[in-house]
Subunit: 225 residues, 2 copies
């Protein structure tokens, strides 16, 4: 992890200002940090001393179960908070958060700001919105995952993560995220190719029939937002 100083720090504070999300001058307290790919931003079980706000990059939330199985729970993207659970709750089992690309974030020290944050209407209103979205998205995902076979969830995932007409996520991450076995993911991908929805080109997949994928993915939409 690298902490930006001087001009570099200034640059990010100005380019990605979040002062409007607070009613007190937060910037003077904030650190600007960069985490490298695969670096742990928060280690599972270790209570963080900072509240983070991601301004660039992607990270993953993991949890380890008693049987040793590790699950990817969700992605974290730009404009997400990290560590808000620990700010709000005295007792909380901290989940592991790992950068999956270079990730730049603001780090707000809790020992200095905790009290003020919890009394700041602007911040609380903002955080409440963020959390309500998160709760709803999770609820949606939950009922989706229970109600539909991989075919539908994968179609949705492909459309969400494709770069133009190119899909190239790592299978290992995907089957983890979608909660299916590697074998089965491959199986369904082959089906998609057989049906002509996708075309495999070496290591990437090219989307051939967006409409068909949409037909599968739309089944699990209910337009909450």
């Amino acid at each position: 992890m690298e902490i930006y100083k001087q001009e570099k720090r200034q640059h990010y504070l100005e380019q990605h200002s979040i002062s409007h999300l607070f009613s007190f001058p937060i910037e003077e307290f904030m650190e600007v940090r960069e985490y490298k790919r695969d670096e742990w931003i928060i280690r599972e079980g270790m209570r963080p001393d900072y509240l983070y706000y991601v301004i660039e990059g992607k990270a993953k939330i993991y949890v380890t179960y008693q049987n040793g199985k590790i699950s990817l729970i969700n992605f974290i993207n730009a404009h997400d908070y990290i560590g808000e659970m620990e700010l709000l709750h005295e007792v909380y089992y901290t989940k592991g958060i790992q950068a999956s690309t270079k990730t730049i974030c603001f780090a707000i020290p809790l020992h200095q700001c905790r009290k003020r944050l919890l009394e700041d209407t602007t911040f609380l209103r903002e955080l409440t919105r963020f959390l309500s979205m998160k709760a709803t998205k999770m609820a949606e995902k939950y009922s989706q995952s229970l109600s539909f076979p991989l075919e539908n969830r994968l179609a949705d995932f492909i459309l969400q993560t494709a770069d133009g007409e190119v899909y190239k996520e790592k299978h290992v991450s995907v089957c983890d995220f979608l909660g299916v076995s590697y074998r089965h993911l491959l199986h369904v991908l082959v089906q998609f190719c057989d049906k002509g929805y996708l075309q495999k080109e070496g290591r990437i997949y090219r989307i051939q029939q967006t409409d068909e994928l949409h037909r599968l993915a739309d089944v699990l939409k209910n337009d909450s937002f």
Copy 2:
């Protein structure tokens, strides 16, 4: 739906006071309402004019998918909010909420209180806590549901809903909630009986080996709180 007046209203306002959750006198605006079993508190797609706080009873959140399938998403219990999404977001597709027992709740009129609620630190902090819990619980459920077979989730569900050593939830609701077919739920229940974890007595199941059920259920615990 019945609106309590006079002494009855006063009684509930006093017995279940929530004035400490607000920094302005909210009670004068609040209605006290009773919904009967199966009555809709909020109809899917209809934006509610009130923020509700449940003080007694149980309700269910439903969503209808494009293919017509209706899914039970979650339960609502005493001390939960209803309608907070609509308070926080201008644009939001409202889910259906149906009372599953007689349900008594406070109803706060948004046209009168919206502005003050969104500027009330005490309320916002409280709501933020509530939502963060909700988000985390959903995230947990999500990864659980994906990672483990019904056996584990059912064991957990039985322990959570059992009254003493008696389990007597309706199969139809349960398989809906756990997202499995009726047939399969029965199948696993029979297994539990065969293994001696449960004993069927007419229409109820008596828990015989709590420890064995715990062993199954504990696999999906990670002690977040």
